[in-house]
């Protein structure tokens, strides 16, 4: 429980490497001292609050907004998702516009009766469209999440 708590704080805490090392060492001492005096790990954790609360309030004392990198990550991933979506839609649109009739071979003008089984069960352009839609949904989720965190 203690190891898990310290590990979680290590993940959440956004400080310089030396400051972080210091905080984690102290956190370990907090646990060891309390256990020495007959407290349980559970009691210590209740006093410390969640790893996130502990990390945020500690970082605040160092004058650092602990949520900054999370915000940045949110913004970067939304932008990437939007770019992926745009590229996917453009590819889909161009693929659709010079679409050869189904079942045509070598872009012949006329239809043939030879059926060509694609490498995939369904059309590649459909896959690209699906990728685009997923990217848009992901981008929206990321944007909502990032702005909601900002407001808090």
């Amino acid at each position: 429980m203690k190891e898990q708590y310290i590990k979680q704080v290590k993940k959440e805490l956004n400080l310089s490497r030396t400051a972080k090392k210091e905080v984690l060492r102290d956190l370990n001492e907090i646990f060891v001292s309390a256990l020495e005096h007959g407290e349980t790990e559970q009691q210590v954790i209740e006093r410390l609050g969640t790893p996130k609360e502990f990390s945020d309030s500690t970082a605040q004392q160092f004058g650092i907004d602990n949520s900054a990198p999370r915000k940045r990550k949110g913004i970067i991933s939304s932008v990437i998702a939007l770019v992926v979506a745009a590229v996917a839609f453009v590819i889909y649109a161009t693929a659709k516009s010079n679409k050869v009739p189904d079942g045509a071979i070598g872009q012949a003008d006329a239809m043939t009766h030879i059926q060509v089984e694609g490498a995939f069960a369904f059309d590649v352009s459909q896959i690209i469209l699906a990728v685009g839609i997923i990217a848009v949904v992901f981008a929206i989720i990321q944007i909502v999440r990032t702005t909601r965190n900002n407001r808090r």
């Binding site: 210091e22 905080v23 001492e29 907090i30 060891v32 001292s33 005096h37 410390l48 500690t58 004392q61």
Partner: protein, 119 residues
């Protein structure tokens, strides 16, 4: 009593209390916490989450210093805090200020109480 005015008092004086505590003798985290909880119940329950951040700040301001000493239990280490010369100076100033500050506040309280009695 735990309203926001009381909170403000506590917040403002905790640094001075910690400096006095550490100035008395070299001490470590858990000892500070238990000391506060045993003899300063009016301040409310002291938590590591409140105390350590202040210790970091005091250390950064070079008012306190610390040394690591190996602890008996499971090969860990304990951090012992003490005042720096600068910390002693600042504490002296704070003590002096606190004296005139309480005098001033008490003065206002006294005039208010006198008025209340004469009414």
């Amino acid at each position: 009593m735990d309203n926001k005015y009381v909170q403000q008092f506590k917040k403002g004086s905790l640094e001075m209390i910690l400096l006095s505590l550490i100035g008395r003798k070299e001490t470590y985290g858990y000892e500070i916490i238990t000391e506060l909880n045993n003899s300063a119940s009016v301040l409310g329950y002291a938590k590591e989450g409140t105390i350590y951040p202040i210790l970091y700040r005091l250390q950064e301001a070079e008012l306190i210093q610390c040394r690591l000493a190996p602890a008996a239990a499971n090969g860990g280490s304990k951090k012992y805090y003490s005042l720096t010369p600068k910390g002693k100076e600042v504490l002296q100033e704070l003590i002096m200020f606190w004296a005139s500050y309480t005098d001033c506040v008490n003065g206002f309280i006294a005039t208010y109480q006198q008025m209340e009695v004469s009414e």
